[in-house]
């Protein structure tokens, strides 16, 4: 375990996001997480696609690979398969990861290779100047949807569960309190960890998460879930969620009202994908923290489990398989 501070994870490159962009805060959260979690710069690789968010590797003093649009999970898979000892992170955006790159994310989650994927969801294409993205809410006004977009939004958590994910977590960009810890949960999960970060693009989609993220309403608008603990939230922790077995849906309730007691409140079970789905789709409050964490063998483990990791046979022998015609004498 190294003894580095978060500053040791910064490079000499000037950070070039727009002033006020949520990415700054996430960068800090990542640097803190790396320091807190004892990551070793030489054994850590950040792989990204293309987008504002994907510039992050240049600002991190680790190995970094800024690849092409949407394909970061593909490259990262190659890195991790080639050297499973490395700690491999993927940085992607809602456009990069879910629009052009949806298929790779899908199959990465399905295979459960041990990558830590950070999805910066600002619900917009930042780098290309503000077109709507697959996570944009219907009605989003943008250069390509001046009258408001007419497409349903993809829900990253629901998508991940559909793909068979083993780890899904969520946080907001400004939440420095929980972010480093959450990133380290992702890191220690043995398999693909997928973290959605609600990120404020102050230029093209300013404050779209304000309802959820704003400091003054956060306590009521967010529920921070914890495995084995009841799903309660609110400033005075009197709000909670219960299951309606008729509709198979979560209902926000107030403890102490309508005869509701703490016992009625559902206890979070992060190993249950159905509950994770309900939580991921929940609106008012929005669920934060580790929504899903299931144990499944990591792909690289199974992969190398059935193949030699070292050369065991010399080519000279291989060349001589099958019928040979020996004319050596």
């Amino acid at each position: 375990m190294s003894n580095l501070s978060f500053k040791d994870f910064a490079t000499d490159q000037e950070v070039r996001w727009c002033p006020g962009c949520g990415d700054y805060s996430i960068l800090k959260g990542v640097q803190r997480a790396l320091a807190d979690g004892g990551s070793e710069p030489e054994n850590t690789v950040f792989v990204s696609g293309i987008g504002c968010s994907s510039r992050m590797p240049y600002y991190l003093n680790t190995y970094g690979f800024h690849t092409i649009h949407g394909r970061a999970p593909g490259f990262a898979t190659g890195v991790k398969l080639a050297n499973p000892e490395l700690e491999v992170w993927v940085v992607t955006g809602d456009g990069d990861g879910l629009s052009i790159g949806g298929n790779h994310l899908l199959h990465t989650l399905r295979r459960n290779i041990n990558l830590n994927i950070l999805l910066f969801n600002n619900e917009i294409y930042g780098l290309t100047k503000g077109q709507y993205s697959p996570t944009s809410r219907p009605g989003t006004h943008s250069p390509t949807s001046p009258q408001g977009s007419v497409e349903a939004a993809l829900q990253p958590g629901q998508f991940a569960i559909g793909a068979g994910a083993t780890f899904f977590a969520r946080c907001v960009d400004i939440d420095q309190k929980t972010m480093p810890g959450l990133f380290n949960e992702a890191k220690t999960h043995n398999g693909t960890s997928f973290v959605e970060i609600l990120q404020n693009c102050i230029v093209y989609n300013k404050d779209v998460f304000d309802d959820i993220a704003a400091k003054k309403t956060a306590a009521e608008a967010q529920i921070h879930v914890r495995h084995g603990e009841p799903l309660i939230y609110g400033k005075d922790r009197t709000r909670g969620l219960r299951l309606n077995p008729q509709t198979i849906a979560l209902e926000p309730v107030v403890i102490g009202q309508d005869g509701i007691s703490l016992d009625d409140i559902l206890v979070h079970d992060e190993t249950n994908p159905t509950l994770a789905l309900l939580l991921a789709n929940l609106q008012g409050p929005t669920a934060m923290g580790v929504l899903l964490r299931r144990e499944q063998p990591a792909f690289e483990t199974s992969y190398w489990g059935i193949r030699p990791s070292q050369r065991r046979q010399k080519v000279e022998q291989l060349l001589r398989t099958g019928n040979l015609l020996d004319r050596r004498n």
Partner: protein, 622 residues
């Protein structure tokens, strides 16, 4: 045994039947037998596009052609000397390509009304005069097989399935080849199934005995086939896909580097993947990705992490990889991309061969994105070409495209097993413990940067597809830097020319016509040039392995010829490159039918241009 009156340098046999008839197996077994008896050989498997095409149809015919015999067998032969047809469809689709008097052996049992109709025929070709020009031997192969295997208690259907071995037994007899390899193969394959094993062995032997004992032999027994004059080494038969797979793992061993082979299935490239899956003991790991893009990305990621990434596909899949190839060029990572070409455009004809992805390989990327391209010429040549591709990739830190094709991948030839200990080590630019070199410092001769993989605290760096500062690797939008990086990329590929062998004339003489070609047309052209030389024409054969860059002496070499003839299985793609790089005036010969070149058409094309030589020479090889 009957005496044969004459001997012949080589024979061409074509086996044809339904996909379910085991034609390919029959061909492969004959191939091994003739190789083990010391013949040079070349084969052409020719199977339908359908997985299991309906029986008896014309499009469902599966065929296998082999030419075997003495020296210099480089093609499966233009026309068969002997055709074995297991049903009416197999007979009619092959007739167009037969010379008069060719010996045709048919399974007479298969010429029922129903199967004649199934072959879109209105009358029986055996009796309606169709076969008058040929020498037909009709045998009730099915009946005889069923009879032969009866003791082993198989049902009629299963019994009938043994007829490929029955016929093989007959044919081995015709050409005086041994049954022992086939017997061993059957023993091995059906080790756990006594019934089938014994039945197949019985069929094989019965066919052989039938030939020995019936009244046909006079016709059946073929002139002795000359043996090849072989070197004092070990030989085996090998297909292009096997040879390429072995070449890749050999290269990994020579470079002391493990390989990650990342691919996605596609015809005819999958066979390479399938072979490598079987070689995972030898320093290669295979990964089947969700698509071609993910496959090349994983390969590049692997190279970034220090294991050589190799990917493979055919044209449509390579199209999908071109964006990522650009990233490999920009980030200067080693990579080998194998393209097993097939007939295009678009999905085209996946099971048919073509050489039409050269444009894509050389020019097919956005930006100024040069990369080295090499091409294999024959099944055995795939081995060395693979080693060459890996050598260039890791020596210059660049992606390399290796072109092969469906014909090479599936065809086999007799291969002198190389002495791998005699191959020079492949040098990589992996950091040495005491190196002072920075990640983006370049070797002045190869322009290679350091191959510095994660895990080492001394080389922590970031790299990506945005133009990079020539010395730090960081993002740079500087105008002069972009020019400098463009020049480096150009020079890097150009520098390869200084590390490769000079181009030679394969065979023949200069002054007259140079037949300049690449890839799988090698065999046909080689044969054609040999025959033209024997006929006294002034012709030389120049076959190019290094497509980009060309060997440095190529221009000078070709300047020594009056005419340049460029035969290709495309509309003229090497021709473009020769004009582009060497400003040559040349004559194209193009054929785009999905079929290999035949010797006679190449000869005709040569004859149109070539002058007669003052005097014919004996051995025309140089």
């Amino acid at each position: 045994m009957f005496e044969t009156t004459a001997s012949k340098n080589s024979h061409v046999i074509r086996f044809a039947g339904d996909s379910g008839d085991g034609i390919q197996l029959q061909g492969q077994q004959f191939t091994v037998a003739s190789a083990m008896s010391g013949h040079d050989l070349a084969t052409l498997p020719d199977f339908p596009a359908e997985i299991r095409a309906p029986t008896g149809t014309r499009y469902g015919v599966s065929a296998f052609q082999i030419q075997f015999g003495g020296d210099h067998i480089t093609t499966p032969g233009d026309t068969p000397d002997v055709l074995i047809a297991f049903n009416p469809a197999a007979l009619v689709v092959n007739l167009a390509n037969l010379s008069p008097q060719t010996l045709v052996i048919v399974d007479a049992n298969a010429f029922t009304d129903q199967r004649i109709k199934r072959a879109d025929l209105t009358s029986n070709p055996l009796t309606d005069g169709t076969m008058d020009a040929y020498q037909v031997v009709d045998i009730n192969i099915t009946d005889l097989t069923v009879e032969a295997v009866k003791p082993h208690g198989l049902g009629t259907k299963d019994a009938g399935r043994c007829k490929n071995f029955w016929a093989l037994g007959l044919i081995l007899w015709m050409f005086d080849q041994s049954r022992s390899q086939t017997q061993n193969w059957i023993q091995d394959k059906f080790a756990n199934n006594e019934k089938i094993r014994e039945a197949n062995l019985a069929a094989l032997n019965a066919g052989n005995a039938y030939a020995e004992n019936t009244e046909f032999p006079q016709v059946l027994k073929q002139p002795t086939t000359l043996q090849a004059s072989l070197a004092a080494v070990e030989y085996r038969t090998i297909t292009g896909a096997e040879s390429l797979a072995l070449g890749l793992v050999a290269a990994g061993e020579l470079a002391d580097t493990q390989l990650m082979f990342c691919s996605y299935p596609i015809t005819p490239a999958s066979s390479l993947l399938h072979h490598l899956v079987g070689l995972e003991d030898a320093g290669v790991a295979t990964y089947q990705a969700e698509d071609e893009i993910a496959a090349i990305c994983a390969a590049i990621g692997s190279s970034y992490a220090g294991k050589l990434g190799v990917t493979s596909s055919s044209g449509p899949g390579v199209a999908l990889k071109t964006e990522a190839l650009g990233l490999a060029v920009a980030t200067e990572l080693p990579l080998v991309l194998v393209n097993s070409q097939r007939a295009g455009p678009s999905t085209g004809m996946p099971t048919k061969t073509e050489q039409s992805d050269l444009y894509q390989a050389v020019y097919g990327r956005n930006g100024d994105t040069p990369l080295p391209v090499v091409a294999a010429r024959s099944p055995a040549d795939c081995f060395d070409t693979a080693i060459e591709a890996v050598r260039i990739a890791v020596r210059h830190m660049t992606p390399v495209i290796l072109l092969t094709d469906g014909y090479i991948a599936n065809a086999s030839e007799l291969w002198p097993i190389p002495d791998i200990s005699g191959y020079p080590e492949i040098l990589t630019t992996k950091p040495k413990a005491d190196a002072e070199q920075g990640v983006f410092e370049r070797d002045p001769a190869t322009f290679a940067r350091l191959w510095a993989a994660p895990g080492n605290p001394r080389f922590i760096h970031r790299v990506g597809g945005i133009e990079k500062d020539a010395s730090t690797g960081n993002i740079s939008y500087d105008a002069d830097n972009h020019q400098a990086m463009t020049d480096i990329r150009t020079s890097k590929v150009a520098s390869v020319a200084q590390f490769i062998p000079d181009q030679t004339i394969e065979q023949g003489v200069s002054g007259g016509v140079a037949v300049v070609a690449w890839g799988s047309t090698f065999g046909s052209i080689s044969r054609a040039v040999k025959e033209c030389l024997d006929e006294g024409l002034q012709v030389g054969h120049v076959h190019i392995r290094h497509i980009l860059p060309f060997p440095e002496n190529l221009g000078q070499l070709l300047a020594g010829f009056d005419h340049i003839l460029v035969p290709e299985l495309n509309t003229g793609q090497l021709a473009t490159l020769l004009r582009d790089k060497l400003n040559l005036n040349l004559t194209q010969y193009n054929k785009v039918t999905g079929q290999p070149l035949i010797v006679s058409e190449v000869k005709t094309a040569i004859a149109k241009l070539a002058p007669k030589r003052a005097q014919a020479v004996g051995d025309s090889r140089e």
